[in-house]
Symmetry: C2
Subunit: 293 residues, 2 copies
């Protein structure tokens, strides 16, 4: 499965960690980095994450047998455009975008249909930190990576991407694009909206200094994801808009109902909700996530 030349477009936490993991596994020859910011790319060379870099995507992909697109979702389409006519015949492309329908559509728009060597993917991993300095080889260890191949995806390209992620210690799962986008809207995109929204609401209150002063440890955990990259999250909202906005509206209605339940002082109903939630979290979340670490 050895990769001769890996090109990472977007050398941050996600892209940098893939390069580091493949290097640690001895599964990659040369790593070429591509991005807009020179200081970050220089840092990546200094840290040994990449061997060399260029700001031009067309140049970066030439001669690569594996290309990893780890840019915000809004930058996917221009990246595909810049690759056109520069790809080696055996080049396999995959990505790390948190929504898949938009990336598949971007690729199809540029290449005039499904590109057999493109395998859409999403590693379910990350931290609230970004940039190449946050990258580490173990990020994908025991994490799940979802691949969403289409009917026209080349089976050999799919097998290759699967093997790459397995070499990083990840568990690889396949599902349809639309299902991925709904599941992620529920488990990742919606929680991020709530965390961003809560911190923003509190920051807009008068005396917000004092408000934050009395926030306890639970608040810090709850809002950690509000420290995530704003550009990335704007792009996720734009890319997964229909699934996410529908889920957010529904959740918002449920919270209005909960406010009514509190106003009516309906203790039995409140207890029922809280008990069901606690049982679900204790059973599923800890159980499933811990089995995963």
């Amino acid at each position: 499965m050895r990769v001769r030349r890996l090109t990472v477009i977007g050398v941050g936490l996600i892209g940098g960690s893939l390069a580091k993991a493949l290097r640690q596994a001895g599964a990659v020859g040369e790593v070429v980095g591509c991005g807009r910011g020179r200081p970050n790319l220089e840092k990546a060379v200094e840290l040994g994450v990449i061997d060399r870099f260029t700001h031009a995507i067309g140049e970066a992909v030439a001669g690569a047998d594996l290309i990893f697109l780890a840019v915000p979702l809004g930058a996917m389409r221009p990246a595909f455009e810049a690759m056109q006519g520069r790809l080696a015949a055996d080049a396999v492309i995959t990505d790390g975008g948190s929504a898949k329908a938009s990336v598949v559509a971007d690729c199809a728009a540029v290449f005039g249909g499904e590109l057999p060597n493109f395998v859409p993917g999403h590693p379910i991993a990350g931290t609230e930190h970004s940039g190449v300095e946050a990258a580490f080889a173990e990020l994908y260890h025991n994490r799940r990576v979802i691949l969403t191949p289409g009917a026209g995806t080349d089976p050999q390209a799919l097998a290759r991407v699967r093997a790459v992620w397995q070499a990083c210690g990840a568990e690889v799962i396949e599902m349809p694009v639309a299902h991925h986008d709904e599941v992620l809207a529920a488990t990742s995109h919606l929680p991020h909206m709530l965390a961003f929204g809560l911190v923003d609401a509190l920051a807009r209150m008068k005396e917000n200094d004092e408000i934050f002063r009395y926030a306890a440890g639970g608040f810090r955990d709850f809002t950690r994801i509000a420290s995530s990259n704003p550009v990335m999250w704007r792009d996720i909202c734009m890319a997964n808009g229909p699934a996410l906005s529908a889920m957010l509206t529904e959740f918002s209605n449920e919270m209005t109902e909960l406010a009514d339940t509190i106003r009516r002082a309906d203790g039995d109903h409140l207890l029922e909700i809280f008990q069901r939630a606690k049982a679900a979290r204790d059973r599923y979340v800890d159980g499933l996530l811990e089995s995963n670490e």
Copy 2:
């Protein structure tokens, strides 16, 4: 400041940790536990958290010079009733309730007005675990404790309670009851509603097993507080209903607006919200909390 006899009513995480901290500080003679569940109280004796126990509050408070009420908010009023006529002349009472107006009202209803030796309090500390086995002496170390004395609170009782918390390593702050309840609605009660609500919503989806399977680390942090004690949280909702339901309704409206912004694909507005939230969290939350640890 040495406490001759401490009575802890409700020997769980909060009550047990106060007893442990005062013992570790060498600041307490005897500790009497009081509660309903015999196994938990026997465990508390076995762990050395309390010296002896009784299920009768009237008996438990007799001869105590410090009484700590660490029961769910719904159990405060019956506890005050059971104390009546059994308190020593020098007995000082304080509590650990997460909402203060309701406790102050419960006390006044039972004693026919403000009780000079009652100092309402709230340690801003906790974990998602409960029960005496979760208690530890360092829980209050470098944490804030808010006291909300009234006009009729005896200054000596206030000084005593302040000294007790300081002996546990806490920083003590005073504020009016209503202000406490608003600040806590924003920083603690509202986030708990969102976490309980989100986990409950996901648990009610079909294929919820699968949904939780793809939840990443951020989801686990975000929903940790949904593993908190359901009875305690029902009581907090009932006790701080007006402040909490108002805040929840407002937040719910903001999330409906956010859904519209996503639907309109207004990227500039989304970026503005996310950037403001990230800046606030990075600046206030980490800064303030870390200075606090």
